[in-house]
Symmetry: C2
Subunit: 149 residues, 2 copies
C-alpha cells in the first residue's frame, strides 16, 4: 500500500512538472498497475480498474498508458500476438521468457547476452540503441527416476 502510494505521489510530481494533471482515473490506473504482478493488456487493466470505478472508459486507459509510458512510469511490450501489454517500470533492464502453454511471462536478465548483442551490432557497424528479446519455451519436467525422454 505504502509503496503504491509512493509511486502515485512520484508520478503526480512528474505530471505537474510537465503541466499535466493528476486525475482520479490516472490515480486508479496507476494503482492497478502498481499492484499487478503480471503483464496485463489494456482490456485487462480496464477490467480491473472498472471494478473500482464503473464510469471509467477504455479510451482513458489507452490515453493514460501513453502518458504513463512517456513519463517512464511503465513499459509497454508487444509479444507474439501483437497486443500491447504493460508493466510498471523497473529500474533494471530485463527480457522475457513466455511459457508457450500457459502464456505466463517470466522476467530475466543476462549481462552476458547484453554484451554479446552490443558486440554483434558493433561488428555490423552499428551502435546498439535497444533490443527486443523474447524466449518462448515449455516447462521442463523435473528429471526424476523412471521419467522417459
Amino acid at each position: 500500500m505504502t509503496e503504491t502510494d509512493r509511486r502515485v505521489a512520484v508520478f503526480e510530481t512528474q505530471l505537474k512538472g510537465a503541466g499535466l494533471r493528476m486525475t482520479q482515473q490516472r490515480r486508479l490506473i496507476l494503482r492497478v498497475l502498481a499492484e499487478a504482478d503480471d503483464h496485463p493488456d489494456a482490456k485487462g487493466i480496464f477490467t480491473r480498474a472498472f471494478a473500482h470505478d464503473p464510469t471509467l472508459s477504455l479510451s482513458t486507459v489507452y490515453r493514460t498508458m501513453k502518458v504513463l509510458e512517456s513519463q517512464g512510469a511503465i513499459e509497454r511490450h508487444a509479444f507474439e500476438d501483437g497486443i500491447s501489454r504493460y508493466e510498471h517500470a523497473h529500474q533494471e533492464h530485463h527480457d522475457h521468457l513466455i511459457d508457450i502453454d500457459s502464456g505466463e511471462v517470466i522476467e530475466f536478465s543476462s549481462d552476458a547476452i547484453e554484451e554479446l548483442q552490443r558486440r554483434i551490432a558493433a561488428e555490423l557497424g552499428y551502435e546498439l540503441v535497444r533490443h527486443r528479446l523474447e524466449l518462448y519455451g515449455r516447462k521442463k519436467q523435473p528429471a526424476r527416476k523412471g521419467s522417459r525422454k
Copy 2:
C-alpha cells in the same frame, strides 16, 4: 530465374502432397517473394504482384502468405510496428538488426547467442522452443582522425 523456378516447382510438389492447388496467384506471389531481397509486408507484396496481375486481390495475398508459411516456404516477422513482414525461408536460422533511421533490416546469426539463450531458458526450468531477437541500432560513423565523441 532458374532458382526462382526451382522454388516454385518445389512448392508445387509440397502443395500437391497436401491436397492443395498451385494457382496463378500463388505462383505469382511466390515469384515476387523469391525475387525480393527485403522484408516486404502484405501490402508491399500485393503492390508488386498487382503490377503483373491487376485482378489480384489483397485477400489472396494474406491467404497465400498463410499457406506459404504453413508449408515452411516463408517466414513471417512482426517488428516494432506490429505489421507482419515476410521473407522466403532460409535454411539457416537468423535474427535481425533494424536500422533505426532507415528502417533497413540486416540479418545476422550468432551461435553464441543461441547457446546462451538455451542455457538461460534451462536455468529457468524451460526448454527453449523458439525466440525472437531484434536489435535496433544506428549506423556508426567509421572512426577517423579528428572525429569527436
